[in-house]
């Protein structure tokens, strides 16, 4: 019974305090009567120690008091608000922070390139990453012990004397050229995006794992002019219309003539990758008559394009899984 008495006193006291409450004191009053450390809360916590006969009644009374005080406080607040003038909507309150998912920068660039090339009538092909020495080198006119092999530092999976049994991680996407030419009707327009590997120590500008997009066109009378037009268009679409493109003489065993492709971007010539007219021997290796057909081929560095486009200084970020980096692109 003592508890009921105390509850009544609390209610009385609360009514009095609420009667003279102001905007300044409203929170204090609320804490005084309803807060975690309030007298009421302390009383309610003692109910469980009462004899079972009175526990329910006192409990009920306690909740009633709490409800009444809550209601009185809400009313008091309403009243204060009404007298405070028109309500104010603050449009400058910062919004909720949204999270979005996203694909990897290399996936984004690959898709941009694939969309662009499909628009130009190119199909897409893929090939094995663990490739035979025959397809990665020999059929591309790069015989064993040729100095040209030095250009491709290779991860070997299982090196054997028979190049058809000798397995490596492909050093370029070019072997897919052959696989595609061997299995498709002419004319051919295809791009091959894919992961490639080089046996080299990693630093800010070198990664042992990177991505290329290989392009191949085979038809009657394909020329260097066609190569120029295609590459110019592609780099314009990716890096902007004010880029310039130039070809420099080079050597790749699987193209003749062979070129380095440079793009003038942000005030300097940048090396973008190799290109050329498919070597007649490579066409023969794919059972295509080089006297009748010719082809152009080029390779784009997908990682390099991502780095240029987004001004990334360290290629290792791409395979780091670092979300602070990935969430920016």
């Amino acid at each position: 019974m003592v508890l009921t008495e105390e509850l009544n006193q609390i209610l009385a006291s609360a009514k009095q305090d609420i009667g003279k409450v102001t905007a300044d004191t409203l929170d204090d009053v609320r804490i005084k009567y309803l807060g975690r450390k309030s007298e009421l809360n302390e009383l309610l916590s003692r109910i469980k120690d009462l004899p079972e006969s009175t526990r329910a009644d006192v409990g009920k009374k306690g909740n009633e008091v709490k409800t009444v005080i809550t209601k009185l406080l809400d009313e008091a607040k309403e009243k204060l608000l009404a007298s405070a003038g028109p309500t104010f909507f603050d449009p400058t309150v910062p919004g909720v922070r949204f999270q979005i998912g996203r694909t990897h920068p290399v996936t984004q660039m690959t898709n941009q390139l694939v969309t662009l090339f499909r628009g130009l009538g190119f199909s897409v092909a893929e090939g094995p990453e663990a490739e035979t020495e025959e397809f990665n080198f020999n059929l591309l006119n790069i015989p064993a012990d040729h100095p040209a092999r030095d250009e491709w530092d290779t991860f070997w999976v299982n090196r054997k004397s028979d190049p058809n049994q000798s397995i490596l991680l492909r050093t370029h996407t070019s072997p897919v050229q052959l696989r595609y030419m061997q299995n498709h009707e002419l004319p051919i327009r295809v791009v091959v995006p894919g992961r490639t590997f080089r046996f080299e120590a990693e630093d800010a500008t070198h990664s042992s794992v990177f991505n290329q997009l290989e392009g191949l066109v085979v038809d009657k009378d394909i020329t260097v002019g066609h190569l120029k037009a295609l590459l110019t268009t592609v780099y314009q679409q990716i890096l902007g219309n004010d880029i310039k493109l130039r070809l420099r003489p080079s050597f790749f065993p699987f193209t003749e003539p062979s070129f380095e492709v440079d793009v003038w971007f942000r005030g300097q010539w940048l090396e973008m990758g190799g290109a050329g007219i498919v070597h007649p021997q490579v066409l023969r290796n794919a059972n295509i008559n080089p006297d009748e057909y010719s082809g152009l081929a080029f390779g784009l560095g997908i990682d390099r394009l991502v780095m240029l486009k987004h001004n990334i200084k360290d290629i290792r970020l791409l395979l780091s899984g670092n979300l602070e980096f990935l969430n920016q692109i």
Binding site: Q99, V124, W156, R189, V224, K228, R246
Partner: protein, 756 residues
Amino acid sequence: MKIPYGIIRSWTKFKGSPEELKSLIDLHITEVEEVVESGTYANMVVGDILEILPHPNADRLQITKTKVGEEVFQIVCGGKNIKVGQKVPVALPGSTTANGIEIQASTIRGEDSLGMLCSDAELGFPQKVDGVMILDSDLTPGTPLSQVFDSNSGLAYDLKVLANRPDYMSFLSIAREVSASMGEKFSYQLPTTYKKSRTTDTTKLLKVKQTVKPDLCARYLAKVVTNVTVVPSPQWLQDTLQAAGIRPINNLVDAANLVMLETGQPIHIFDLNKINRHSVTVRMGKGGESIKCLDEETRKLSGDDIVIADSKGALAIAGIIGGEESAVTSATTDIAIELANFDRKTIRLSSRRLGVRTDASSRFERGVDVYAIDLALERLLNLIEDLSPKAVIAKGEYDLHKTLPPKRKEITFDLTRIQRLIDLSLSNTEITKLLELIDLPSKITKDKIKVSVPNYRSDIQEAADIAEEIIRIHGLDKIEARFPMMTMAPTTVPALFDLANKVANIMSRMRLVEVKTHPFIAKDADANAIALENPLNENWSHLKTRLLPTLINFEYQDAKLGVFEINKVFAKQGKGQPMELTQVAARFEAPNAYSAARGALTKLFSELGINDDYRELPSGLGLEVVVNGETVGEIIYHTPTTAGFEINLDQLVPLINWSKPVTELAKYPVVKFDLAFEINSGIRIGKMQDAITEVSDLVVDVELFDIYEMADLRRSTAFHISLRSPERTLTKEDRDTVQKAIIDLVASKFQAKYRG
């Protein structure tokens, strides 16, 4: 291969600036990998003094902040005359001043100093000003001093030697190409005159024998010169060698090196009197044999190395490096000159096995013209006569050789084929003129072109090779860009490529971020993984068989996130190429991560239109994902806050429903109610939910919305149940019937206690 700017200027009609020459080589010949400088002004640039501070520990010194190009270096300076804003000559670390001070990054009385501001004397000029030389204020910081003083004596171009153009390893070839690129015929000729002795005879002073197969040594020419004087070379010769990156030694060795640079023919000189019995044999090495080389290293030889030997043992490793024993020294009076042509594969393998690469071996392994010997010999004798005037050049020589290929071959190509490839409107005369400039004289008759190809251009075999020469020399910039005209055809994309893209898209829409990782792992990470023969490091020795472990190992700080990867993994598969599978793996970080992983996978499959099923993993900590009876992946509990899944995409390709039909929208309202049960530990809620769904056709959805563990490990679970009929509005009776059926079922089958 480094070619000095000065050589091009004096051998050709090129009169332009170093930059113009760089661009000409880049656009017509090969890549200039670097413009390098040696000699007086190497590593010296214009500096801009941005700041001058007193040196805290030395009254007579000052500290400057000097801009030297993009960078600003702190340089301590003793000169009193410097002021902020002045342009001054800066000797950077690695340079040597005219009075012999070698500049290094150093600390001067406790302050770092990255170079030196130079005085007149330090640059080799008479000292006019006391203190630092002050340069023209218009100069740009970073400009090489060689440009400021218009001295290009030490300037050289480091060229990329294309694998099909071994002849690019000679000044002559590069100079010819530079001339041709300017439209000029190359007419420079190396001096080759000298006086031959009438009495002294090579064959009387030296015996040469060859026992190696002729294929391994196509030609071996030896000649004796007596009465030589070995002294340091004159400055011009030392400068030229240094510009090309070769250290001067003495007049004879330097002459041999210069001729190698000029002609591409490596030359070796022996001290004749150090050859036992004046008799040498070109033979294969022997096991157990070793030789102390010119670089003071002793190397063990094998039967695969070619050596030049006397009766006592090897004197030189053929085509790679000479021996110390028979080297030319200041005491040398008579010499034997060797000009040979060794097999490129043999030299390449020997050089790799022995771990030594020299100017000679890098030429031989690319392939040297067997006729380069003739010009090189005459030029060398001319130089020796010049550098050691009392030398007596013996008459006669050894010239051991197999049948040599013709000096020139006539090859006929299809002219129309060439014209179609180059796509330039060049007249026949223009074509023959262009080819003539690069030593490929030709004759055109109707639609054929007959080209005379010198032996050193063995790369020219096909019409495409001629096409390349024409457009390269003519100028690649003259080719007009135009699109090919091709037949229209639909494009195709591999189904797996499409699927991977679709999955990436769905995953990112579920707010996951795609990551990409290396395909490598350590051996102990997976016993079934395929090993690499030459891994980059031991943590990357094998190829991944699954993607998830790497994702799980990433240390992320966020309490809530999801990342995924789509990539290839590799598995052993008999002989030949390993099996390659494309996987998607996802890792979730959340208060109840397993639930997130399972929910995401369910959504992924429903978006793909694939019906999935599950089997518990033996560990009990996850599920096998089963599609059409085949296991396609796993969902894995890692910790309460980390979980993930991985799925093989290849298996899903045939199952994707690319045109998922929509179900017709219902005409009648849904009736919803909630049911809560208490179940014993060990009861599978997933199975319970499946069972509830099966109770009646009217049940259209069962959603678990609450689950908690009680103190005795029993669990309380609650479901939202949705009922709907396609035919009518459901009544209270319908609802009660279904509800009762559910309660009865879970009571009997799962011993679940109905709570309300």
